[in-house]
Amino acid sequence: MTGLVYKDLMVMKKTLLIYVIIGAFYGYLDISNGRTGMMFAMLLITSTMIPISAIAYDERCKWDKIVNTAPVSRKEVITAKYLLALVLTAISAVMVFIVYLFKPGMTISENLATVAVMSLMAMVYQAFLLPTIIKFGSEKGRMIMMIILFAPIVLIGVLAKQEIINLSVLSDFLESNSHLLPYITVAVVAVIYLISIMVSVKIYESKDL
């Protein structure tokens, strides 16, 4: 399986380099403006767009056909894509961390917390994105992803506004258990990620290549 991740990193080497350069530029902007938004965007884009591009490259040369005749299972092919996403999240996280070291007034613990939150959010995004791309292909998947991404946010917003659901119950719970919040968040993200891997494997296993 490491061979598969290694192959994707080799294929995406140039793209990754470009993202790092853009990241450095964004980092400069964030530091000079005293904001965090640009770096977050950079992390999100690097850790999700590169796996999608890797899948798009695979589609173009019909790599899936040949890799599935090699000594790897379909489960491994998919797990490798998630591993790639995690490796890229880690690379981007390190980069954001380094940039924030130069940010005036930001302590190391604040820096770590910010990077951790960004990484977890990126993982949630990947967890929804990857099964969609694997099911519908990289072209259609990107479009469908936009809908999937915004639909729940809009839906919750509308329902909360109509007072059909009461978000204050959730926020009250979180406030009263704020010391547990980091653990709950990590656990929830981990569960979402694992479910996502399982769903993707299922989709891929039933696919005609």
Partner: protein, 282 residues
């Protein structure tokens, strides 16, 4: 001893096309050519054999086992070349070597490098800059460098010039010198297959028309040439298909069913396939 390939009653249904009860057996140590027109079901059969598509019935065994249930060592004994080079186009063969040896524990880097060099593949040129022939050579080199005992090639020679095709055929001939090694190759360039194959399987509209030893095919069938009036006297059970013009008839016939004094020419595998595809079938 298991057969290299054993496909039994394979069925696969698509909205516009069906594979119907495909049966193919390839003993070890031989080359089988899989022929048929475009869209006849060659690639679907091969995809089913390799476990790339879900089937709707039947089994496809390679050395007695379905590909999807094989362990890693068993899977490494199957080398596959599809109709295009399936390696990422932005890499060169050195880089292909680097990740393939992490995927195959049996990968032989030295033999892969030797082949690539001998076959004139430039070290630093990326795959997208390769010619079609170079791409296929890369794919074949990769398929042969992890201890494969069976090579499955799907249209691997189509689109190549005769010199490269002939080189590839030589490589395959050399591969089966080891009697544990077998080759299953599909193509619509029948003259190529005629040169190297021991067995020929012909598929038409998703159905196997025949699967037999090449020599027995050319012995069994012949091309009968006679006048229209003489043709009337020929036993129609012996005739597979015919061409008629205002002066004469030429027909693909089963030699064993023909009695009488007729001129029967030798039929090549290509002739046999073309006649089988003719409209004028009886």
């Amino acid at each position: 001893m298991n057969n290299a390939i054993e496909i039994k009653n394979l069925c696969k249904n698509y909205p516009a096309f069906n594979l119907k009860n495909v049966n193919i057996t390839l003993p070890k140590g031989y080359i089988m050519g899989f022929i048929g027109a475009n869209g006849a079901g060659k690639s679907t059969t091969i995809s089913s054999l390799l476990g790339l598509v879900n089937t709707d019935g039947g089994v496809c065994l390679i050395d007695g086992k379905e590909m999807r249930y094989m362990n890693k060592a068993e899977k490494a004994q199957v080398g596959v070349v599809l109709d295009e080079c399936n390696f990422p186009e932005v890499l060169n063969w050195k880089q292909v070597d680097k990740f393939m040896k992490k995927i195959y524990s049996t990968w032989d880097s030295e033999s892969f490098s030797d082949r690539c060099k001998n076959w004139g593949l430039p070290e630093k040129t990326i795959v997208s800059k390769y010619s079609k022939g170079m791409k296929m050579k890369l794919a074949i080199a990769a398929a042969m460098c992890h201890g494969a005992k069976l090579l499955v090639l799907d249209e691997a020679t189509s689109g190549l010039d005769p010199v490269v095709r002939s080189e590839i055929l030589d490589i395959l001939m050399e591969f089966v010198q080891n009697e544990e090694h077998s080759v299953f190759i599909s193509s619509h360039i029948i003259s190529d297959l005629e040169k190297i194959c021991d067995y020929i399987t012909f598929i038409k509209n998703g159905e196997i028309i025949f699967t037999a030893e090449k020599d027995s095919l050319t012995e069994k069938y012949g091309i009968l040439r006679c006048s229209n009036s003489d043709f009337e006297a020929v036993d129609k059970n012996a005739v597979i298909a015919y061409n008629r013009n205002s002066f004469a008839v030429d027909a693909l016939v089963d030699r064993s069913k023909i009695s009488g004094d007729y001129i029967i020419d030798k039929a090549s595998v290509e002739d046999i396939m073309l006649y089988y595809m003719k409209e004028g079938k009886i």
